[in-house]
Structure formats: C-alpha cells, structure tokens
Symmetry: C2
C-alpha cells in the first residue's frame, strides 16, 4: 500500500477559505492526542474558551467550537433554537443565506425571507418592514457573504430586535478574525463561525456562542432538540462544571490548532489584525487594478472576500487554471450567476500578508502575459 502524499502540491490558498495555515498551527495539530476527560485536555478547552470569548467580544458562558465545519455551526444554531412551526425571518443576499433558508425549512420552521440584491449590503429598512408586520422567534443573517464579497451591517440589523424577544442568529463563518465582531454589543443570541477562514485553522471546527436569552429559549422548548450530537445544552455540561460530563469525544488535535491560531491572533491584537486585512485588501485591489481588474462590489465590500471582473478578453476560469497549474495558487470562481465571470480571492488570516498577496499579483500578471 502507499499514500498519495508524495503527489500533492503545496498550494497557496487564496480562495475565500480554506486559508493558509501558519506553521505553528500545523505544528500544534501534531501534538500527541489527549483523552477527552484528561485534566490537560480541559486546560486546553478552558484556555480556548477564554480566547474565543475575547475574539467574539462576548461574556457568554456557552462559547465553544461545535465539532464539525462551519456548516455544522449553522445546523447547530438553528436546530437548537427552532421548533416545528416557529416563525423565522432570514435576510438573503447570497449563497449562505439561502443555505440558512434550506436548513430552517428542513427543521420545520415557518420561514419568511427578506430578499436583498446579491452583491449589495442588506438594507436594514427592508428588514424592519418585515419585522413591523409580524412577530418572529428568530431573525437570521450572514455577516460576511463568501459568495458575493459583502459584509452585511450586522450591528444595524441587530438594533431592530434589540429590545424584543426575537432571537438574533448570525453567521460569521467568513468574518471572525478578519473584521470586527461584537457578539454582546450587537445583541447576537446565536453565533457561529468556521475555523478555516480568517482564523487560519484547517477546516473542522465551528466556533459558536449562545446568549443567556438563547439558552433560556432552548430550556423552554416543548420538544427535545432533534439532533443529539449538536444539543448545546448537553455539550455545555462537557465544557463547564465539575466533573465534566462526557458527551462526544472532543476533536482534541483540532482544538490544539484553534488554540494556537487564536493565540497568534490575540498576540497580534484584534485591531491590528483587522487593519492588516484592510491594508492587504487594498494592496491586492491596487495591484489587480493596474492589471485591468475591476472590483465586482462597489460599496460595502468585505476586505477579506474580493470578487474581481477580469479585463476584457480574459476568461476567469482559464486564469484560475493557470494560477493553479503554473503557480500553485488557488483562487475561487464565481458562484451562481457569477460562475465563470469573476475570480473570488480571499484575503484571510495568514493569506492577508504582503508575501502571498504579492505572489498572487505577480502570478496573475504572468498568466495574463502568457
């Protein structure tokens, strides 16, 4: 037998996730595994919870990574909060918002959708108009739309339900660590992210946080959460109290990676990291503008997710193929209506640095001149 490892390229990951992983994070992943109830495992968990609270700007007790990828975070937040027949309002301006609609529908929610144009930030007035007409148990929105390169105004949308009993559910899979996120100040009740975007950890964990109001709503459910694996009230007992109550076996090596990456981020400082993402986004846009590329998003663009229309006569998919084949660089293509029309470039975590950005710009130039 043999493995395929010898055949793998070392690819510079400049798609909007997964992002490049720092060497010390890859190294942390290979620390020998610990048992899920070992006191040393609990040390890692406790330290990681404090880091996550700092990065999410929350005091929420229930703050930990769900054992799955970012989409598991989506599933976990909805399945804990939604009971069949619950009214849910979802703001839709991209692929991941549409996924929320699908997840909530499958759980039996009564879903209403505020349809907003893709490629533009959500207009809070459109959300308010819906909220004025009907009472919702949950209002859900995506912070950073990976499909279109938009950061939505999560704080302004949150204001609309702040003094109500409507729970505010927010996806920041592609935002956390790259742009500001204030779970408590913005009134977010159920929050999730993904490890593989601006946190620069391999995919496999979904940092999540639930407010006291969300946990009270879960405690008042008439039916049990129809997903034992993701029942946060059970998982919570594993993350706090003494003794810890076993739920499922913690993916400890992924915890090591997240713990190290969060340390990298907090050592740099959140504001410095956000400024770096913005500066590197600008460096990339300037470099590509000189090569004739136009940003797809005119206003409210996310620094960490960049969609560009190539210059006339350049095929986006051929360019991507050249970058991957000749230069071992991954960038993503457009989704939905944008397929084949744009390139999507991540400026995320370890990818938001001068060396990878310049390498990408130079490689694009070389591909155009071929």
């Amino acid at each position: 037998m043999t493995t395929v490892f010898g055949e793998l390229d070392h690819v510079l990951l400049m798609a909007p996730g997964p992002s490049p992983v720092a060497p010390n994070v890859l190294k942390a992943m290979s620390i020998p595994t610990l048992g899920h109830l070992d006191p040393d495992c609990i040390k890692v968990m406790d330290a990681m919870q404090e880091q996550l609270r700092a990065v999410c700007k929350t005091k929420n007790a229930v703050t930990f990574p769900i054992s799955g990828t970012g989409s598991a975070g989506m599933e976990a937040t909805f399945v804990n909060l939604v009971e069949r027949g619950d009214d849910v309002l979802i703001v839709n301006n991209g692929v991941f918002c549409s996924r929320m609609v699908e997840v909530a529908n499958r759980l039996g929610a009564q879903v209403d959708v505020v349809e907003c144009p893709w490629g533009q930030p959500i207009d809070p007035a459109a959300v308010k108009a819906m909220l004025d007409k009907k009472h919702y148990k949950i209002l859900a929105a995506v912070h950073a739309e990976t499909s279109t390169g938009i950061n939505n105004p999560i704080a302004a949308i949150g204001e609309l339900v702040k003094n109500s009993d409507t729970l505010y559910l927010v996806d920041s899979v592609a935002g956390l660590g790259g742009v500001d996120m204030r779970v408590d100040e913005w009134g977010i009740d159920a929050f999730y992210s993904g490890s593989q975007k601006c946190l620069s950890v391999p995919p496999g964990l979904a940092p999540a946080s639930f407010s006291d109001a969300a946990m009270e709503a879960i405690a008042k459910r008439k039916t049990k959460v129809p997903n034992w694996y993701m029942d946060v009230s059970l998982i919570r007992k594993y993350w706090e109290g003494s003794p810890r109550v076993y739920h499922h076996t913690a993916p400890i090596n992924m915890y090591y990676a997240l713990h190290q990456a969060l340390d990298n981020l907090l050592t740099e400082g959140l504001d410095a990291a956000f400024a770096r993402h913005t500066a590197m986004h600008q460096r990339l846009s300037d470099g590509l503008a000189k090569l004739g590329f136009t940003p797809f998003v005119k206003e409210g663009g996310a620094p960490q997710i960049n969609l560009y229309l190539p210059p006339a006569g350049v095929d986006a998919n051929a360019l991507r193929a050249c970058l991957r084949k000749e230069h071992k660089i991954e960038v993503a293509g457009g989704l939905g209506d944008l397929a084949g029309k744009v390139i999507r470039v991540g400026v995320m975590g370890e990818g938001a640095r001068e060396e990878p950005i310049d390498r990408l710009i130079n490689a694009v130039k070389a591909c155009l001149n071929k």
Copy 2:
C-alpha cells in the same frame, strides 16, 4: 498571550479511545491544508474511499467519513434513514445502544428496545422474537460496546433481517480495525465507526457506509432529511461524479491523518492487525491476572476493550489516578453501575503493541506496591 502547550503531559492513551496515534499519522495531519475542491484534495479523498471500502469489506459507493466524531456517525445514519413515525428496533446492552435509543426518539421514531444484560453478548433469539412480532424499518445494534467490553454477534443478528426490507444499522465505533467487520457479507445497510479507536487517528471523523438499499430508502423519503449538514445524498455528490459538488468544506487535515492510518493498517494487513489485537489483549490479561485482576466479561469479551475488577482492597479510581499522575498513563473507569468498580483498558490500534502494554502492566504493579 500564551498557549498552555508547555503544561501538557505526553500521556499514553490506554483507555478505550482515544487511542495512541502513530507518529506518521500525527505528521500527516500537519501537511499543508488543501482547498476542498482542489484536484489534489480529491486524490486524497479517492484514495481514502478505496481504503475505507477495503477495511469495511464493502463495495458500497457511498462510503466516506462523516465530518464529526463517532457520535456524528450515529446521528448521520439515523437522521438519514428515520422519518417521523418509523418503527425502529434497537438492541440494547450498553451505553452506546442507549444513546441510539435517545437519538432515534428525538427524530420521532417509534422505538422498541430489546433489552439485553450488560456485559453479555446479545442473544440473537431475543432479537428474533421481536422481529417475529412486528415489522421494523430499521434494526440497529452496536458491534463493540465500549462501556462493557462486549463484541456483539453482528453477523448472526444480521442474518435475521437479510432477506427482508428491514434496514440493518450497525455502530462499530470501537471495533473497526481491531476486529473483523464485513459490511457486505453481514448485510449491513448503514454503518459508522470513529477515527479515534482501533484506527488510531485523532477524534474528529466518523467513517460511514450506506448500502444501495439504504440509499434507495433515503431516496423514497416523504420528507427531506431534517439535517442539512448530514444529508448523505447531498454529501455523496461531493465524493463522486465530475465536477464534484461542494457541500461543506472538507476537514482535509483530518483526512490526511485517516489516509495515513488506513495505509498503516492495510500495509500490516487486516488479519495481522486483528491477530495483534487478540495477542495483546491476552498479554494484558495475563499480566494483570498475575497482579490479581479479574476480567469483568466472562464470555464474548472484546479484545480491544477490557474491563477488569481490581484485586480486593484496591480502589479502581485511586489506581487510575496513580497511573495518570505517577506514570502518565490514561485508563478509563466504569460507566453507569460499574462506576468506581472496574478499570476499562483499551487495546486499540497503536496501543495494541508490546511496549505500551508492558508499560501499563509495570505501572499498575508499581501503583499496587506503593
């Protein structure tokens, strides 16, 4: 800021999971991350699927790891097969069988339970008696009960539903790789395991397999699977066909680890690995017998999961504390009625070797003589 890594012990993992991880598997985990649609990522996935089919002894097209721990495998198999009101028969002789009951109930199944004494293998006659009385959509059993140290007669139970339309769902979280598993020959329709037991991969993946009959039953559902993240019909499109259809971002570094560990296992040969587990189980039992320990399971005991009653006057929990504190070795305690009464020792994967077994026996001796 700082990490806690400097404070962590290197612990020899001799509980029934997680098991020790081979150095080349830890090293594989730190191979640079690849994008989830990169052709090189697909190479890893294709190779891993072939390996999994070989280890599970199946030709099932739908064979891949669920992106979560072993319990995610349980959730995934049940949530795909069960619709509200479906009749499900679960054979119960341990903690993980009881978990199945909870998972199925939460999904709205009509669950009947064959209660069997804990610490004894299931008697197929008891299952037959239930099957004779009522038609079930699903019959579910646990292969290796981590809580009691039993390997259940999965082949004999499977015979009971082989020529029927009842789907056979089997948990081999703690069996796969340590004892024989024949998914096709034994008529298993929905199968799952965990990475962190006899496969000796860190926790975080649940290898799973679905028969054509299971996939047909899923295709005939009247309602969508109420769990988007674990919908195998969607995930399947990511594992086969061209182009691959994105579902969720694959936890690629965990795939590296599983790919390497499966290569280790298949290079050794399955039969050789099973024989090694049996021999190391015997070595451990002989060594502990000399120190006055008695096996808890008299017959049908699993080589990979060993429960021992300590000699008179020895407190099981004090012994465990001594092993962990003085010798940096983890063994588990009893669950449920067995709490404080037994030690549970894993002879799993990389733990099923002379060096760790002898180190454990010597450490137990040292603790008894303290």
